[in-house]
């Protein structure tokens, strides 16, 4: 496959209003790979968006769609006329220009500082509307509407639930500070959840999207905290003697798998999400760490070097015999299970490269989905159609979202800092 490159630089004027200087997040979305089977779509500029919402609509819809690696965008200039009526665009002309689908819409003044945004998605060959909608919102919520429109287009054309209204968490290293942040999936609208002079690692989303568990070194040792995103209230839920780390929420949101060292080595335990007694899950004299749950909550995957090298194992969440899942390579770490429970992603060291791998359960078949030499901490998007991970580029860390079949990758570069330990949040977000 010939590498295919498209560079779209988007300056987020809206986002800039709401950011700390250190957390500036102008995004560069770069699509790498893919190209052969991508769906050709044209997203025409929304009528009157420049005057009514500062042009902050069409570029967001387009970059959302780009992020999936599923689409090839046909330049709207291919059909050089602004359709006067979004209800009846010249579909044959768009079809001739190569667009299989056409999205277009308009922005109207709804009074009281509100706008009415309407859009339609057409199949140019069948000459019919596939989906559409109208949203009346304050101007400040234009970005939410843009994400919703991208979700509707994505769902109509792929059959999969869109995830542009979900959020990601990550740690931004900025100077001597560590900022735990939550942002839109494209990195826009970053919100700082916690700032510290000491390291913060391993953020993990609660299934309801309301809380983050993470590891903070603020007390000069690793301690697991849970923080409510709406109120900012936080509580140390695992602060045992020794190190406390690697939190992972159970799918029902009631418990956390964590790693404690009270036995004299790193072992996997389960605690109540509010804290309390710890129940030991793994029993080895090795390092057992990075637990993660299968979607049914019955099984934990984790990393153990009980064989002499770190490999990925599964074990019943209630404790019991562990089964080794990785046999290729001498360093397999950081597992996460896909939302459908059929595959898992992890990092494998191979000849000095740290690759992101996706492997199906029940087979040892695996594929590499990353390209850079050094990658960390993959996690699945909640619809299972993308894997988010951190990549080293020229000595700093950037985020990538890759298709789990390895066919495409998109770089999400946050300017002004190293982005570490990304985690894709759930669909259910307040």
């Amino acid at each position: 496959m010939k590498p295919f490159r498209l560079l779209l630089t988007l300056a987020w004027a809206l986002a800039a209003l709401c950011m700390l200087p250190a957390a500036r997040a102008e995004m560069t979305i770069e699509i790498v790979g893919g190209g052969t089977n991508r769906h050709p779509i044209a997203v025409a500029a929304f009528q009157d968006e420049a005057s009514r919402v500062g042009g902050n609509l069409t570029p967001i819809v387009r970059s959302d769609l780009d992020m999936t690696g599923f689409f090839r965008q046909i330049s709207p200039s291919a059909v050089p006329m602004a359709p006067a009526d979004p209800a009846s665009p010249p579909l044959p002309a768009w079809q001739a220009a190569g667009a299989q689908s056409l999205a277009l819409g308009r922005v109207e003044d709804a009074g009281n500082g509100q706008v009415r945004i309407s859009f339609r998605l057409f199949d140019t060959a069948q000459r019919k509307q596939l989906t559409g909608g109208t949203f009346t919102v304050p101007v400040a919520q234009t970005r939410d509407v843009a994400h919703t429109i991208a979700d509707m287009i994505y769902q109509a054309l792929t059959g999969h639930r869109g995830l542009f209204n979900t959020r990601i968490a990550y740690v931004l290293k900025s100077g001597r500070e560590y900022l735990l942040q939550v942002s839109d999936v494209d990195g826009a609208r970053p919100q700082t959840i916690l700032r510290s002079r000491e390291p913060i690692i391993s953020p993990s989303w609660s299934p309801d999207g309301r809380r983050l568990a993470y590891v903070s070194f603020e007390s000069r040792k690793p301690v697991v905290w849970v923080q409510d995103l709406a109120t900012g209230q936080r509580r140390a839920v695992a602060n045992f003697k020794g190190s406390n780390s690697a939190p992972a929420w159970s799918p029902d949101g009631t418990r956390l798998a964590v790693v404690l060292t009270t036995s004299g080595n790193s072992q996997v335990y389960v605690i109540d999400a509010a804290g309390g007694q710890a129940r030991r899950v793994t029993r080895s004299d090795a390092i057992d760490t990075e637990p993660t749950w299968t979607p049914d909550g019955n099984t934990l995957l984790f990393v153990s070097d009980r064989s002499g090298t770190p490999q990925i194992y599964s074990a019943p969440a209630g404790g019991g015999e562990a089964r080794r899942l990785t046999w290729e390579g001498s360093y397999n770490v950081s597992p996460k299970v896909s939302p459908d429970g059929r595959s898992f992603t992890y990092v494998r060291r191979e000849g000095g490269r740290f690759r992101v791998i996706v492997q199906d359960f029940g087979s040892s078949d695996s594929r590499t989905i990353s390209d850079a030499a050094y990658n960390e901490r993959p996690s699945f998007a909640p619809n299972g159609r993308m894997v988010l991970y951190a990549s080293d580029e020229g000595g700093r860390s950037v985020l990538y979202a890759a298709n789990p079949d390895g066919s495409s990758r998109v770089r999400l570069a946050v300017i002004n800092g190293d982005v570490q330990d990304p985690a894709w949040g759930p669909f259910n977000q307040p």
Binding site: S196, R197, T261, V347
Partner: protein
């Protein structure tokens, strides 16, 4: 089990609060970091003219680091001497406690490196226990690859980071 809940009141960051309706102010941690706190209380030396050996740069106790070979948590050679000196001090100063902080070089999984650093810290802790230091004076923790002393990528840098540090409480 030595368990406690810690509820931390949140600091106010008005800049953020002004930004997003759903967003609470971001808490700011109160850590002083490794280089803070110059006015440390030093028990056991009040009224004496003797210099606290922990603060004497010429004391063998000024050596606080135990270094390890690649992929190893075995305390060796110079490291054993460091362990011996601090073990003797801890046995005759039973009110003092230390945290042993394990570190690793900078490549690979953060959490697995935390485990590797823990293994090094536990190795130093066990060596001290073998010499008779009570467990109640010792805590082994890990910084993994998060606080490297050397940030370069040479073998000398990596060797600097394969390390456990002995930190006295109150320092």
């Amino acid at each position: 089990m030595n368990w406690k809940h810690v509820l931390v009141s949140t600091a106010t960051v008005t800049l953020l609060a002004a930004c997003a309706s759903k967003q609470a102010p971001a808490p700011v941690t109160g850590s002083t970091g490794m280089d803070g706190q110059a006015s440390t209380v030093t028990p056991g030396t009040a009224g004496q003219n003797t210099v606290d050996p922990l603060r004497d740069p010429n004391s063998p106790l000024s050596q606080r680091s135990v270094f390890f070979d690649f992929d190893s948590s075995v305390v060796k050679g110079d490291g054993q001497t460091v362990v011996n000196n601090h073990s003797a001090y801890l046995k005759s100063n039973s009110q003092r406690k230390v945290t042993i902080q394990g570190n690793t070089d900078v490549r690979g999984s953060r959490e697995y490196n935390l485990g590797l650093g823990q293994r090094r810290a536990e190795s130093v802790k066990r060596a001290m226990q073998v010499l008779g230091v009570p467990e109640s004076q010792l805590e082994a923790v890990s910084f993994g690859k998060e606080k490297p002393r050397a940030t370069g990528n040479t073998e000398a840098d990596h060797a600097q980071n394969r390390r456990a540090d002995i930190a006295y409480d109150g320092e």
